[in-house]
Amino acid sequence: MDSDQHWKKDRGILAPYRALDLSDERGLLCGKILADMGADVIKIERPGGDPSRNIGPFYHDIPDPEKSLFWFAYNTNKRSITLNIETDDGRAILGKLVKTADILIESFDPGYLKGLGLSYAELSKIHPGLVMTSITAFGQTGPYSGFKYSDIVAWAMGSIMSQCGNPERPPVQSTFPQAFINASADGAEGTMVALYHRELTREGQHVDVSAQESCIWSTAENVLEWDGAKLSGKRPGHLHTNPSGLHSPVLWQCKDGYVAMFLLGGMPGAKTNRKLTEWMDRKGMAPDFMKNKDWEKWDFHSLTREELDSIVVAIDKFLKTLTKDEFQREAIERNIQGQAVYNPEETMRNPQLIAREFWVKIEHNELKDTITYPGAFAKFTETPLKGWRRAPLIGEHNEEIYLKELGFSKEELMTLKMGGII
């Protein structure tokens, strides 16, 4: 089948829309979300390939721009062309593409596109209906908009970092940085809001995403606790702070790793506390004071350290006799609010995700491999996410876009290639 037709056939809920994705690791998820819903997302890479192709891990640990698993993960269902927008021809070509597009996503430092004559003000003159989404650490305006940054800077300035890590150690980011993943998802949300507006009015607009703001929203409980009680709690580590100010674990050691569960007083905790006690009792591990407790009336506000400790010790001892999977299975069966702490291996064999057919297999012909990926972010009854395609190779769709769609000749394509423009 002609690859053009392949693209247009049955693409899904956003099939009528085209997005140009000029972003890097700070914004790739935004375009992926649109592409997974069937939008024609064209990743515009600099000649030689997007710098985010250098981000590991790599396929079989071979560092190669065509083997970045980071790239694979966040570019499914996109097409790719190469284009050097720092050249006059490159800018002219981008202008032509903008006329065909509904959305443009970018994550350059603020001011970079303006320096090239490609700011929103200028692009919207070419195409007033364009929705342009910019994803940066601090947004396009304001005293910090010129700051230098990477993911960890936005994570810190967005205050969520102050809530991550063991309280007696420095705050931490995650091994897989999260700030711009949050911002990219917000980029998708903002893009969709603006796209809806465009459908009503034909008017495009600029969506200005700040990763700092995205991070603050992801820790919004702290904002309201500050507003309501001037509380500024220290990072929880693996603990939960209950209303009496005492700490008890959320994460507990079990036989082969960790499980998560926390103690709550009164009605909110009663069912789990009672069922856990029954389970412990079946194994002869429930102390009498737990068996005799009226959990509905267990008052967390007047709780003493001694009482809490004695319960924590008994539960801790019990959980250490269980594996993660045993805990998970029984927690579901007994309707206990608790979860195993699963790594990717265990996540992939979790019966819940298998039952829901969450995982999708995507073919990588040139690797002679089929790779299992996380699948749809939502199940739609009428317009399911389907037809999964692997991330594009560098400039994989140059010919179909430059020759077939934009009408360049093969000679011109050669000139553009040798001129370092594509």
């Binding site: 230098k148 991550c164 063991n166 569960m261």
Partner: protein, 405 residues
Amino acid sequence: MAKHVFDELKAVGFTYAGVGNFVLRVLALNGATVVRVESETRPDTVRTMAPFKDNIPGLNRSYYYNSPNTDKLDLALDMKHRRKDEVTRKLVEWADVLVENFTPGVMAGWGLSYEEVNKINPGIIMISLSMQGQTGPARLQGGYGPLLQSLVGFPLITGWPDAMPSLIDRSYPDYIAPRFGAVAVIAALLHRRRTGQGQYIDVSEYEDAIQFESPLILDWVINQRLHQRMGNKYPNAAPHGVFPCKGDDRWCVIAVFSDSEWEAFCKVISTPEWTKETKFETLLARKKNEDELNKLVGKWTMNYTAEEVMTLMQKAGVRAGVVQTVEDVVEYDPQLKHRHFFWTLNHPECGETLHNRVNYLLSKTPSELRRPAPCLGEHTDFVCKELLKMPEDQYVSLMLDNVFK
């Protein structure tokens, strides 16, 4: 009056706690008319959660409720009442979008499964958000954000290799799924504009949180590698981390990637002798001796406030940022003030309340916070009469029957 994207959109929420209300919030802050259905006999659980205004409990005094529920209307309805269908039916007829996040099965128990809802209003877009989805063996398992983020495995990659895993704050996944949920609803609205067709959307908080760590899944699939906690180390940067500053629990991030950034960094700290040693000369060397490097950097940062470190570094073009606390961002951050990120509203029982806007600025149709969170049942009368156009006699009869409580 400023125009908002969803000025013409109508949404009804059978929601409680976080995720469902966070999807409604996106619609509400962009102009939609949003009606939440609550009951005095079964109020939103967060209405009973501290902190309360002046520490006095009360259904309208919880900051957990009031903070994310601005710009919504509230209808009190006894969902156990035999006549409740008279109201829910009209709500479903009225709405473009129905959002719910109860345990799977609860809506069906009220006669509000998608099948039933679709019969009343075939064009409606209904979205269910739940912990683990509407199907599968764990669909009924309840829980909280900290438990779900554990299931996803975030704590295994957050913290220090020689210490217990750490949570990412508390309810992290509760903020992930609503972003996908809002995207899905708007996509379905666009589809409906084209085809007239409504649909049902099933969002699993679990599956959405996994999207935030997809490369780690692929690394397992391909390389059988499981990622570990590694503090603040990053493969191609050193120093890269959090450094102690003057004051109690004050920290500043510094991230040095390229050689030129390293040179700029050395100048900021007045190029002490140790920076000239060969063990710190190249990126590979700095990575190899990273622990020692971090200690030396920390000895320098300790003499300054976190703000001073950030300013000195940024002036020299070095990536740096204060590990801001909630107090820093709410009270002092000039960037957030410039961008009007926090808004205040005047709540009838709590007085001035603080809120975040959405996390993006729209150049033509800025989102706005206009009305404080509703008191329980505050708009029952308005919703029934003005929005649902319920005849006066029916309204009075339902009221006398005690349906609205």
